[in-house]
């Protein structure tokens, strides 16, 4: 409503911003709609109907509302896309999304490493190879990376005292050292 009062001027401003990319839009819209439909079909199996409850206190009431909304908006979104037919660039874009799984794997490896060898060592093991993987080869970047890791660990673990438990590796150290490592690194 408020935007419409400024219609033309805002449209002119929007012309300055780059247009929305069309590549991959149809793939995403189809996948999202498929996901919403699967959820819709699972409604009777994933929610329970309570006989004594009224319609608005049924446990499935809000899932029904939300999933129906997902399906309706999803259908309209797909319908209103500038291009629905899959083209080569859509598949190329989808390949890029799949390649994003590499970062998920790096991240999960980091997560699993922390309880084993500790926060500081695992962050170093994660950040430095990741810097290399991203194509940085100059020693300067690795020194900065190591400094960053140290600063992050000190800031979060020592200053903000966030809860990150000690590692299995720390158990191998003498008690004094172990306590220090558990508290600070």
């Amino acid at each position: 409503m408020l935007i419409s009062a400024f219609g033309n001027e805002m449209l002119e401003l929007k012309l300055i911003t780059p247009p929305k990319p069309t590549r991959g839009q149809s793939v995403f819209a189809v996948c999202f709609l498929g996901f919403a439909l699967v959820l819709f079909l699972l409604l009777p199996y994933q929610t329970t109907r309570v006989e004594s409850a009224t319609w608005h206190t049924q446990p499935g009431f809000w899932p029904i509302i939300s999933i129906t909304g997902m399906v309706i908006f999803g259908v309209f979104h797909l319908w209103r896309l500038p291009r629905r037919k899959f083209e080569k660039m859509d598949l190329k874009e989808a390949t890029l999304w799949v390649r994003g799984f590499e970062f998920v794997l790096w991240f999960m490896a980091y997560v699993l490493l922390v309880p084993l060898i500790g926060y500081l060592p695992s962050t170093l093991i994660f950040v430095l190879p990741m810097i290399y993987r991203q194509g940085y080869r100059r020693p300067f970047y690795f020194y900065c990376g190591a400094l960053f890791v140290f600063a992050v660990v000190v800031f979060f673990k020592v200053l903000l005292e966030v809860k990150i438990p000690g590692a299995a590796l720390y158990e191998m150290f003498p008690e004094n050292v172990r306590n220090f490592l558990i508290l600070n690194f």
């Binding site: 935007i3 446990p59 994003g100 992050v152």
Partner: protein
């Protein structure tokens, strides 16, 4: 006055003072690095603030929120890249000024306008607070439910180009909130018999995934850009003097910022676009807009800095966040069992006043910091994007893992990060998912409690505020649908024209080919063969 003194007493604590200092300076630094932004920083710091007292945690987050736009103006003006998304309009006026050799003028003007916007919103809030204290108790379950629905509708409508996508993603957010054990009957909803889903999907995990981790993936999969920046020399106070020559534009932009900030789901973008277009209309030199106009720069910077303070109003008065950053702040309240809403204004007005005063102080701290640290901040834009992505991913880990030390949270955040990465690549909005989750939870609770007192459907809106919100909701939807229908016809006509043009040529070729191949064509070909010219040749 008494409340102001009580608020100052709260702020005089050393831990609160440090939080303001760290939040404001940290926010400027974060804003000055393109690719980070306040949402990423707040998402990462959010779990760490849970162990702090609410006032300490909130001033830290508020500091980042309120000051990041100051920092965001630096790369927007110097290298034509907005530090935070809301500084996009600043590039239209700031960068042309830099290319004219007026970088110092542009920066000082941006600082002055931002400072004015920030202070203006805080003054408005201090004046509005007593009224809110009187109005807020009139909001019961029905009113809050309707306000949440209004917020959600406005969020969807505000994404004008992506409205349908915003709608489906907002519904997805509501769905995410409903996963887990249902709070009244304790039956499971979409848990797929997995114990780790029984507690539901944590908002912080989703926030960290969608904002921090997805931004890391996005930066790491992109390219680095070589940037050359020059030092800014000279006094940066001149902007205040220049700002004083445009009081009307600054005032109107401040009003737009405050009003748009209060309305849930609208936010900085609409505020600055509206103030920018108004400034253009009012200007004596409208043609200078887009080519380094000082008035345009004032309008955009004032408006976007007036929003954070105003955005706190629906959050504090009704417990309804208007955008993603205040939604994140809401979780700080929940963790400490401080229920934002009407009660906060009635019983903890000193807390609310302390927050407003913190906003006021942080604006002063930021301007002083910027006067001395601009040249240092300029160098931050040199950090390569992919390198920054690695750093954000490492920081994202702390955010997720420190919540419950649970690897399944991290896995979930990584998956949401991938979803956010896809949405970023497609230029689809992320914010509706977060607001859907937060407002979905509020709607579920308030709807249930309000329906227990409703016998007939009309009882739902029989109270004055409920009926006003309902009428506003209906009017907004009506106007929106009318606009959609109005835009539909020319769009359809354009589409038909386009299809007709391209289809016509294809059809012409197809018909010609068919014509030449079918029986009639054969006859024609034969006739052509039997033409007088051919006969002569024969």
């Amino acid at each position: 006055m008494e409340n102001v003194l009580l608020g100052l007493e709260v702020l005089s604590r050393w831990d609160v003072a440090i939080a303001i200092l760290c939040g404001s300076i940290g926010g400027v630094i974060i804003g000055a690095i393109p690719g980070v932004g306040p949402a990423v920083a707040i998402a990462i710091l959010l779990p760490a603030t849970f162990s702090m007292e609410p006032i300490v945690g909130l001033t830290l987050l508020l500091g980042i929120y309120g000051s990041s736009m100051y920092g965001g103006a630096i790369p927007a003006i110097l290298i034509n890249t907005p530090g935070t998304p809301v500084n996009a309009l600043t590039t239209y006026e700031g960068y042309p000024m830099t290319t004219r050799g007026e970088a110092r003028r542009a920066l000082s003007l941006a600082y002055a306008a931002s400072f004015f916007g920030g202070i203006f919103s805080v003054i408005c809030l201090i004046l509005v607070a007593p009224i809110l204290a009187k109005v807020a108790p009139l909001f019961g379950s029905r009113e809050i439910f309707l306000a949440a629905v209004l917020g959600l509708v406005l969020v969807v409508i505000a994404h004008k180009e992506n409205m349908l996508a915003a709608g489906m993603l907002a519904c997805f957010g509501i769905f995410l909130n409903s996963v887990g054990l249902e709070p009244v009957k304790y039956t499971s909803r979409y848990t797929f018999d997995q114990s780790w889903l029984a507690n539901g999907i944590d908002l912080i995990v989703v926030v960290l995934g969608l904002f921090a981790i997805s931004q890391a993936y996005f930066l790491m999969s992109g390219d680095d850009v070589k940037i050359r920046v020059n030092k800014v020399r000279g006094n940066l106070f001149q902007g205040f003097k220049e700002l004083s020559r445009h009081p009307v534009i600054a005032g109107i932009s401040g009003v737009f910022g405050v009003v748009m900030g209060i309305i849930p789901g609208v936010g900085e973008f609409t505020a600055q676009f509206m103030s920018y277009t108004t400034a253009e209309r009012m200007s004596k030199r409208p043609k200078a807009f887009g080519h380094g106009s000082s008035e345009g720069l004032i309008a955009s910077e004032t408006a976007n800095n007036a929003v954070p303070g105003a955005a706190m109003i629906p959050l504090l008065a009704l417990g309804i966040p208007g955008e993603a950053l205040t939604a994140m702040m809401l979780s700080v309240f929940y963790v400490h069992n401080v229920i934002p809403g009407p009660g906060l204004f009635l019983y903890q007005l000193d807390f609310v006043t302390a927050l407003y005063l913190a906003l006021l102080i942080l604006n002063i701290v930021v301007v002083i910091f910027l006067m001395f640290a601009t040249n240092f901040l300029v160098q931050l834009v040199r950090i390569p994007n992919r390198y920054l992505g690695v750093c954000i991913l490492a920081l994202g880990f702390v955010g997720v893992y420190s919540l419950r030390n649970n690897p399944s949270d991290c896995a979930m955040a990584a998956v949401f990060g991938l979803l956010g990465y896809v949405l970023r690549r497609l230029d689809l909005p992320i914010i509706p998912i977060i607001l859907g989750m937060v407002l979905g939870g509020i709607m579920e609770v308030k709807f249930r409690s309000s329906m227990s007192r409703v016998k007939e459907p009309l009882d739902f809106i029989d109270r004055p505020i409920a009926s006003i919100i309902f009428i506003v909701l209906v009017v907004i939807l009506l106007i929106h649908f009318l606009r959609v229908i109005k835009e539909w016809k020319p769009r359809k006509e354009r589409k038909w024209t386009y299809r007709k043009a391209s289809g016509k040529f294809g059809r012409l070729m197809f018909n010609r080919r068919r014509h030449m191949l079918d029986d009639r064509g054969k006859v024609l070909r034969d006739l052509q063969l039997m033409s007088p010219a051919r006969k002569k040749e024969d």
